[in-house]
Structures are given as C-alpha cells and as structure tokens.
Amino acid sequence: MRLLNKTYSKLFAALCLSAALAGCGTGRNSFNNSGMGYNAKPGSVQDFTVNVGDRVFFDLDSSSIRADGQKTLQRQAQWLNRYPQYTITVEGHADERGTREYNLALGQRRAVSARNYLASQGVAMRRMKTISYGKERPVAVCDDISCWSQNRRAVTVINNAAQ
C-alpha cells in the first residue's frame, strides 16, 4: 500500500510536469492515459486513487474548491457512499512559497474545505478526519510554479483499507 502510494505520487508528478495541459489534476485523465487502473478491483483503494482520483488542487493562498475539484469530490463522494465501510482522512497541503505555520493553517483550511464538500455530497462527518501537512510533504519537487501548483492540494486517504 505504502509502496503503491509512493509510485503513484511520483508517476503523477512526472505526468503532470510533462503534460501540463492534459487535464492534470483530475487524476482520472492522468491515469487513464497511463494505462493503469483498468485492473483495479471495484471498491479497492486502488480503484479509489486511480479511477476516482484522490486529490483536488487549489489556487494560490486559496481554499476554495475549483470546478475541476468539485467534479473529483463528487466522484469521491459517490464512491464513499457506495462503500460505507471506509473512513477517510483528508490531508491538506500547501506549496513551499509560504511560511511554515501559516502553511499549516492553510493546509487545515483546505482539508476542511474538501471535507465539507464531501459532507455536502452525503458523506457522514463521522467517517472523515482532517490533518494538515502544511508545506512539509510536497509531491512535486522543484523550485518553480509548475511544482507549486501540484503541491497545493487536498488528498483523500482511505484509512481502514484491507491490506
């Protein structure tokens, strides 16, 4: 599981960098393009991350859910409503262009914003936790704008997946 996530993150970052216009950020497009995910068992964590898309992206200093993010969260909510055995943690992240404490607070705001959107789509609050990593856990690693926009994200992590 851990290994898969890592591979996934790296691959995701690479895809986004090479195809910035190809709908990066919806998750679905990237992975359909990659040819992965067709074998994911419905209801599995792989199904969620690959076919549904586990993350949404934010504008600079913002915690508003963008139109593309709303689509992703709607898919997440449908999936979570179909598989009620799962609980989730929504992780909020910020890019590196901010100070440490503010970015932790901003990550919280993003996580809460994504969680509240899921709640509005019928996912029970008691199934959801939030955590903020601020700027401490970037997925894309470089020193320019292409990376920073990938790091401003909220990621939905399935907590109680069968291994």
């Binding site: 993150s9 590196e96 262009r97 404490e101 919280q108 809460v112 939030t130 903020s132 992590v157």
Partner: protein, 442 residues
C-alpha cells in the same frame, strides 16, 4: 528518547571578580554606538592565555572568533603584537599596544586545580585609558572550556560596546536530511558558534518550530506522530533538554502548532487548527493547565509571540485578506493591525529588548527578513531573496538568526545584525531550518 544533549545545564561555574583598584573607569572612550550608521570594527588584541598546554591558545581563539563574528570587533593578528605577555597580573606596556592600534587587550592564564578543574583568569585592558576594565576568574570542568571562552567574549563585548553579549548561548533548530518529498527532520542543539552539536530526536517523527524556555532547560515544539495519518493529530509538546522527557501541551480536539513560551516561562502560546478551517491562538498555563482562547472567528490567527514584559502579544492573521501583523493585549483585548506595507507579513517575533518586532515579509517573488517597531513604524528590510524565513532574536536584541533556502539548494541558517550589516552563515552539518536562540545560559 534516546538522544540527549552531550552536556547542558547549569555548569558548576564559580565566577569571581578580581579586586583591583582600577576596575572602575570613568571614561568610556571605547564604547561605541552600535545602533546605526557606518561602523568600523573595534581593533582588539586577544593574547593566548598563558598555560602549560594548548588550552590557553584554544580559549583565546574561541574568544577572538566570537568577537570577530559579531562584526563589531577586529581581532588583531598575533604576529604584529610587540609585547609578549608573560605575567598577566601586571599592567601591559600600553604604548606597545597603542602602536598596533589595539583599543582593548585581553590577557589571561589557565591553570588546573587539584580536583582537575580548570582555573581561568582573564583581564581586559583599556589601552587608551591605561586601566583595567575587567578582571575575572573562573573555575569549571575541563570539558566546559568553550563556555568559559564564550563568557569571557560576552564580558569583553559588554565592556566595550555597552550592550549585553550573546555568545554563551545555544541554538535549537531542525536538522534536515533526505529528499524534499521524504524529508527527515530532527531536533538539534548546538552552541551559537556551531560547536557541540547534538540531537534531541531520532528523526522517526517530523518535528517543527522548536523554541527555548526563557527560564528552564526546556523546549517546546510541534511534532507529527509516527503513526498512520489520522490516528493521532500532530501536537505541541514540551521537552526537557537534559533527559529528553516530553509531555503533550494541553488537550485540544485538533492539531496544535506554532508554540512559544511566555517571558516568565509559565505559559505556552500556540494555535489550534479549528474544525471549521480557521486557526485561533490559545495559551496554556503550565502549572494550572488552564487554557484560554485569545482570538476567535474563522480566519487564520497564528504565530503568537509575547512582548518581554508579558503584557502584549504580536501575531499574524489574514482576517482582512492577506496575512498581516497585529498586536493585542495578553488577554486578547484590543487587537490592532500594525503592518501596512506591500505584500504580506508572517512569523512576527518580539525582541527580548522590546524595541522591535522581527518578521518574514512576502512580496511578489521575494521572502525578506525585516524589523519594525511595536507600533508598526520604522519598518526596515534587512535581507531579501528567494526564501528567507523565521527570524529568532539573540538575547541582547541586536542580532537575528533566520533560515534561508536558495532555489534548488539546501536550507541554511544565517545571522544578521538588526542594522542589516554583517550577514553570516551559521555552520550546520546538514540542511537546517526553524532556528531558535536560547537566553544567556548564566
């Protein structure tokens, strides 16, 4: 915790002043104004302290390095000294030292007591006033020789600048290794000159923003637990430096971040990441465990830092759009914005002297370190670049350490004078961030 400081704590250190007739001097001709304008470092002669081994030279080198690094002194090359000090108990030949333009002269002697302790004697001479400005004697364990040198450097700094020194201090910071997307962050502590580095955590959990207690051998910081995400929220902790024991600060429903001590060490101020997405500032009394909330609403309120008298708190908030610096009373009343420049302001920290607030300022593509007065006037930017963040004050309120990262490079610690002069790299073994300066150890 397996990791502990190599040595730390209150040294059994006896300090005696020499009783000499000339200690009191009426003239202050070598006292310099360090508050601004152009400045030429004070030429000073630091002789090798007389000793049976190399300890005298080692102590003199640490003193000279401290004074040189401050930017206020220019230790003279020993090869130009005309007088060879053989008896530090008698006045030097002042004319010989005047000829090489020394304004001050430090001499001394190192001996060993029967129980193995070092005995270090030190005198500071005013070359133009022909007087002894300072005379002291120290007893300490052999392995604390660097501390004695720092205490002597502090004494020289104080006598010759009129300001308290800051050399007998330590820095706690976050040591960073590994790739950016899997960074290992460990708590580390070292002397202000980079010596005697040791680790206070093992790197298994991510730690951020350590701060010194002003009164005890204690730090507060925030840590992400090593367990699975969501199982245990990241929290503010308190940790004893000597034995590594730690405790959670407060029982809050969510993550707590950005801790700092109150000036009397009785409270920790920190921010709670609220369930509605906002962040608010709380304090917790470490004795009664009582908590109080000082800000409210769904904005980001964080980065609280007390004034040295404990009466006020500076903090940052984005309640009116961008992050700005505000000041409030210690009970949360009378919250007033003080920063009004372009860009946004973050990480405010009140000087231990009370006269300035240091901050990180974010403009278009620059991260700067600056200072302003507590009423928001007199803003000055000290240094700018790709990324500079998180200033911390020397106990005398004259020098700041912050961390800097140039694009694509490791994060480093740097020091700078509040006048914007004398920027220096502070040596660390790896990447380093989140520095916090200790008070004078005493």
């Amino acid at each position: 915790m397996k990791y502990q400081a190599k040595y730390w704590g209150f040294l059994p250190l006896a300090v005696l002043s020499f009783m000499t007739a000339a200690v009191h001097y009426g003239r202050a001709q070598v006292v310099v104004d360090v508050s601004g304008g152009n400045f030429n470092p004070i030429p000073i002669a630091i002789t090798d302290f007389i000793a049976d081994d190399d300890m005298g030279q080692k102590i003199s080198e640490v003193i000279a390095a401290d004074l040189e690094r401050s930017g206020l002194f220019r230790p003279l090359d020993k090869s130009i000294f005309l007088e060879n000090i053989t008896n530090p108990d008698v006045p030097p030949r002042f004319n010989d030292w005047q000829q090489i333009q020394a304004q001050g002269l430090a001499t001394g002697r190192v001996g060993r007591e029967a129980d193995g302790r070092l005995r270090v004697e030190f005198r500071l001479w005013d070359i133009y006033g022909h007087t002894q400005m300072e005379g002291r004697q120290f007893y300490a364990p052999e392995d604390s020789w660097r501390r004695i040198a720092h205490i002597i450097a502090d004494a020289i700094y104080r006598k010759m600048t009129g300001e308290k020194g800051y050399f007998d201090t330590r820095i706690v910071f976050v040591d960073e290794t590994g790739p950016k997307n899997a960074r290992i962050k460990r708590l580390a502590i070292m002397d202000q000159d980079g010596a005697n580095l040791s680790y206070l955590s093992d790197g298994r959990e991510m730690v951020l923003t350590p701060r010194f207690s002003p009164t005890r051998q204690e730090i507060t910081y925030m840590a992400f637990s090593g367990s699975r995400p969501g199982d245990d929220a990241p929290r503010v902790y308190l940790q004893q430096i000597e034995d590594g024991k730690r405790e959670l600060v407060g029982r809050f429903p969510n993550m707590t971040i950005a801790p700092r001590f109150s000036p009397n060490g009785q409270k920790v101020i920190m921010s709670l990441l609220e369930d509605d997405g906002g962040s608010n500032i709380y304090t917790m009394d470490l004795t009664t465990h009582q908590t109080s909330r000082l800000t409210s609403g769904s904005a980001i309120n964080t980065g609280g830092s007390y004034s040295p008298d404990g009466g006020k708190i500076v903090f940052e908030t984005d309640r009116n759009g961008k992050q700005q610096i505000y000041v409030m009373n210690a009970d949360g009343s009378d919250q007033k914005r003080i920063s009004f420049g372009d860009g946004s302001y973050s990480t405010p920290v009140w000087s231990p002297r009370g006269d300035y607030i240091a901050f990180t300022k974010l403009t278009d593509r620059q991260f700067s370190i600056g200072v302003m007065r507590p009423d928001g006037t007199g803003e000055r930017i000290l240094t700018s670049g790709f990324h500079n963040e998180g200033p911390t004050w020397a106990p005398n309120g004259r020098v700041l350490i912050f961390f800097r990262q140039n694009a694509g490079q490791e994060s480093e610690l740097h020091s700078i004078d509040i006048t914007g002069r004398n920027e220096r790299r502070v040596p660390t073994p790896h990447g380093a961030s989140d520095p916090a300066w200790s008070p004078l150890l005493d």
